[in-house]
């Protein structure tokens, strides 16, 4: 095992501060530097206004359109003979101010609106949401033009209008976020504890939404600056104050005389907007990193590199009846600078025609092991050691394509959550026949086979189910569909990952019966992943117990339940008061425990 590999679960308490993460990214660091420059210019503008209020107007008519560097004019002079640099700095203030007006209006309208709408819902929500869709149906440029035509080109008016037009974006964001946290447990708890709505909003809700809000504001400030200059470009800007937009349009007008004049304000504007944007995206990345969501992280381009590690057991070919054998499996995930291992050398053996129960708590690595066998680990996962023997061949020694082919033809998978495992946009029939069609079965034959399988899994009206979309059938029926789908590829190994936990108690029993019947009929070997000892006792011939990424005990079911050897196994068994009779209570009990432990199914 290489030295960088961290063999500990990620420590979520000592994550670095958001600012530190922002600064780690070179692009956002550039953004921070640029933002600093803008701030300096802003301060300089205020100082200039105080020390030499007419510096930006001081003109030398003998030096119109002087080239950059002439006579101490670092950026030259404009078509009025005024120093471009001084004007650029002074313009920072009014330009930023324009942005601030628009932002303040957008926030003042959008934040309270979004909070109220998301928190209380109901009629207020309906009205506010309708108003925001009205504002979003009007292109803001058209509204700005209309307002300017009737009220004039004052920056106050146009930026206030722009703020109103940006408010729906803030409103929608807040509303969605608040709506999401509103019914979260801790808000409920706070309400039960008798906190007032205002207090709940300010203490709990605002804390959740402030991150996304800050991001949105920094993006909108870029928009405000761009729109303000755009109005100037159209000749409808407010020319009573010096802004970058005003300088830009002056530069355009004088372009034939002074080719570079429009570049400076353009650059100032672009860099400022870039600063906001870069810092915002840095912050977003940082916040997402903290959330632990890998969903938007760029996919790891590197291929999994296998490093064979010596395993505790003999690496010889498994015995004839060992359909599936896992030896010393090591799985890790990249995190920060190193690699966090979640499975540290797991060993499993599944014999022909038998059912192996893989037991363990959430986070013990049992699903990871199952997915490794199925060749379905997430892209980010690193299989850094071990062997997976299928029918006497070490899959990990095969080329990717060959491994894929062998796994798909031999092993089928029955997932945990029936609903989320069906594509909501296709009919059941399509989803059942697609794998068959991909294997070259004709349309008609595939349909017949799918119908037969549905009938076999206990669905009475297969034709209707075939024509249905997933949201039109029940959870139990969906699980039958998934089992039928698993069977459709004629597997001789079935891996079922908690196939019953998401189902009602009565349906659970039916599904277990179904699995038992199918095994007998098709002679399959089953790897049943579960934390439910009741299910294991019901169905399994052998048991393997996993804990913290290692298999701590492997035995026949008989031996395991009678004489558990490992301390952890004894603990597991002790936690179950009695067996089958109390399964229902056990299930209820589970949900509490699962909340306490980090969730496994998404990782």
């Amino acid at each position: 095992m290489s030295a960088e590999v961290v063999t500990a679960t990620p420590d979520l308490t000592t994550r670095p501060s958001t600012l530190r993460i922002i600064l780690r990214n070179p692009l956002s660091r550039t953004g921070v530097v640029l933002l600093g420059l803008v701030l300096i210019a802003l301060v300089a503008a205020v100082v200039i206004d105080w020390v030499a209020p007419d510096a930006a107007w001081k003109a030398d008519l003998y030096q119109l359109n002087a080239a950059p560097g002439t006579d101490g004019h670092l950026l030259g002079t404009d078509s009025g003979g005024r120093d471009v640099l001084v004007r650029l700095v002074v313009a920072t203030r009014a330009t930023m101010f324009a942005g601030v007006i628009a932002l303040v209006v957008a926030v003042l309208l959008g934040v309270p609106g979004g909070l109220i709408s998301g928190y209380y819902g109901g009629k207020v929500d309906l009205v506010l949401d309708w108003l925001s869709s009205l504002a979003m149906s009007l292109p803001s440029i058209v509204v700005l033009l209309a307002i300017i035509s009737s009220l004039g080109t004052s920056m106050w008016i146009s930026m206030t209008t722009l703020g109103c037009m940006m408010a729906p974006a803030v409103f929608r964001l807040l509303r969605a976020q608040v709506h999401a946290v509103r019914n979260e447990l801790y808000v409920d708890a706070a309400r039960v504890a008798g906190l007032s709505d205002a207090r709940i909003i300010s203490r709990h809700v605002l804390r959740v939404v402030r991150g996304p809000l800050v991001l949105m504001i920094s993006v909108l400030s870029g928009v405000a600056i761009t729109v303000q200059t755009g109005l100037d470009f159209l000749g409808l800007g407010d020319s009573t104050t010096i802004t970058w937009g005003g300088m830009l349009s002056e530069g355009f007008a004088a372009m034939t005389l002074n080719r570079v004049l429009f570049i400076w304000p353009g650059l100032a504007m672009a860099l400022t907007v870039a600063a906001f944007f870069l810092v915002a995206s840095g912050a977003r990345d940082a916040l997402q990193g903290i959330d632990g969501g890998s969903t938007t992280a760029p996919p790891a381009p590197e291929r999994i590199r296998l490093t064979k590690v010596p395993t505790s057991q003999s690496s010889a070919t498994p015995a004839e009846d060992e359909v599936l054998a896992v030896r010393g499996l090591v799985i890790g995930y990249p995190s920060g600078d190193g690699l966090v291992e979640v499975v540290h050398g797991a060993d499993l053996t599944l014999r022909k025609g038998r059912t192996l129960g893989l037991v363990g708590e959430s986070g013990s690595g049992k699903s990871q092991t199952a997915f490794a066998v199925l060749h379905l680990l997430p892209r980010q996962a690193r299989l850094s050691g071990g062997e997976i023997w299928l029918d006497g061949t070490d899959l990990l020694a095969l080329p990717r394509r060959e491994r894929e082919r062998r796994v798909r033809s031999a092993i089928a998978y029955v997932p945990q959550e029936p609903m989320s495992n069906l594509d909501p946009t296709f009919t059941i029939g399509y989803q059942l026949t697609e794998p068959l069609r991909a294997r070259g079965v004709g349309r008609k034959a595939a349909r017949e086979r799918a119908t037969a399988l549905l009938t076999r899994t206990g669905i009475r009206d297969p034709e209707r189910v075939m024509a249905s979309y997933p949201h039109q059938i029940s959870g139990g029926m969906a699980q039958r569909v998934l089992i039928a789908g698993a069977l459709s590829t004629d597997p001789h190994v079935l891996i079922a990952d908690e196939p019953t936990t998401a189902l009602d108690v009565t349906v659970q029993a039916e599904i277990l019966d179904l699995l038992r019947g199918l095994q007998a009929e098709f002679g399959m070997s089953i790897l049943l992943v579960s934390h439910d000892l009741g299910v294991i006792a019901d169905l399994c011939d052998d048991v393997a117990v996993m804990r913290e990424g290692q298999v701590v005990e492997a035995a026949t079911a008989e031996n395991f339940f009678a004489h558990p050897r490992h301390e952890y196994s004894r603990m597991l068994l002790a936690a179950v008061p009695a067996e089958h009779e109390v399964r229902a209570e056990y299930v209820a009990d589970r949900s509490v425990r699962q909340d306490a432990a980090p969730r496994e199914k998404h990782s």
Binding site: S133, L134, M136, S137, L138, P139, S140, I141, V142, V143, L145, A146, I147, I148, S149, S150, L151, V219, G222, T229, G230, F233, L234, G235, L236, F252, G266, A270, V273, A274, F277, S294, T295, T296, P298, P299, P301, L374, R408, S409, I411, A412, Y413, P415, E417, S420, N421, D423, P424, T425, F426, E434, P435, A438, Y469, H471, G485, A486, S488, T489
Partner: protein, 313 residues
């Protein structure tokens, strides 16, 4: 399903009415004197008054609104103060340019963003960097600045494209495309990245969905999973960003039209704004608002077609 469609249509209609009211209100906030602007400074007060009377501007606001709204329902948007031509005639003259510009840009954005998103989730790191760079450029460089740079480089310097002007597609599709090429690039480039990032995010989410894993366990190839299942499920986010992008494109088109001297709605509106031509502005508000409402409705329909569950919502 039919009831849902009906409800959406009614909601769109109500929104349209609100847009019209809003258009009337915001253009009428100030005190303007159209009679004076039409007749010029030399006209006497009596002449100005007579002109205002002829235009019906001496009536109450409510009366003026009902009169105008009645016209709008019949497809009559009133008469422009400048040149005394019907507003509908003016708008139909200027609309094709903006519509060509926006429609072509939409196509470019849709195609490119999809290609980039797919390439990005297929694990091409350089595509990701490309998209990110595009996003920064699109955000930082306003369309009109980009348009100006393109104009100076490709139209003035290399003379590959016309400096100004619009050829109707009916006259010569090649010239039409040639005239619009630079404006469309300037307009679309900024929005491509946004839509691509949306599509990419949604695709990434979908690709991590449970059913994708299950599909793969059945031996469905990566390509089928991506193109048949993931794209379809990721389409709502992408479509939404496109429909939001449509509004942004309209605004961008107004600026880009100025750079390439294209006679589009932007040119018309800016002209109307600086001359206080209220009927034209109200017409533009109603038209663009209507377009946005219709585009949103279309996107809704498209989503309902792609995502069966949306049909029951």
């Amino acid at each position: 399903m039919v009831r849902l469609l009906f409800r959406r249509a009614v909601a769109a209609l109500v929104l349209m009415i609100a847009v019209a009211v809003a258009g009337f209100v915001i253009t009428g906030l100030g005190n303007s004197d159209p009679g004076r602007s039409i007749l010029g400074p030399q006209a006497t007060a009596a002449q100005v008054e007579a002109e205002n009377h002829r235009l019906g501007l001496d009536r109450s606001q409510v009366e003026q609104f009902t009169d105008w709204a009645g016209g709008v329902v019949r497809g009559d948007l009133g008469r422009s103060y400048l040149g005394d031509r019907p507003v509908t005639e003016k708008i139909t003259n200027y609309l094709p340019v903006t519509m060509s510009l926006v429609a072509l840009s939409m196509v470019v954005i849709a195609v490119l963003s999809l290609v980039l998103a797919v390439a990005s989730v297929s694990g091409r790191a350089w595509v990701d960097r490309c998209v990110q760079l595009l996003a920064v450029i699109g955000h930082v460089l306003p369309g009109y600045l980009l348009a100006l740079l393109l104009l100076l480089l490709f139209a003035v310097q290399f003379q590959l494209f016309p400096v100004f002007g619009y050829t109707p597609i009916g006259e010569s599709p090649a010239q039409w495309l040639r005239g619009l090429a630079l404006p469309v690039i300037a307009l679309a480039l900024g929005s491509v990245a946004g839509a691509a990032l949306q599509a990419r995010g949604a695709l990434m989410d979908v690709l991590e969905a449970d059913y994708v894993r299950t599909l793969r366990s059945r031996g469905i190839g990566g390509r089928s999973v991506l193109f048949r299942h993931a794209l379809r499920n990721a389409s709502p986010a992408w479509l939404t960003s496109l429909s939001l992008g449509f509004v942004a494109l309209l605004a961008g088109a107004f600026m880009v039209e100025k750079v390439f001297a294209l006679p589009g709605l932007g040119t018309l509106s800016v002209e109307a704004t600086s001359s206080g031509d209220r009927p034209v502005l109200m017409g533009v508000v109603v038209l663009t608002g209507g377009l946005v409402v219709v585009v949103n409705l279309l996107v809704d329909l498209l989503q309902m077609w792609l995502i069966p569950k949306a049909r029951t919502a």
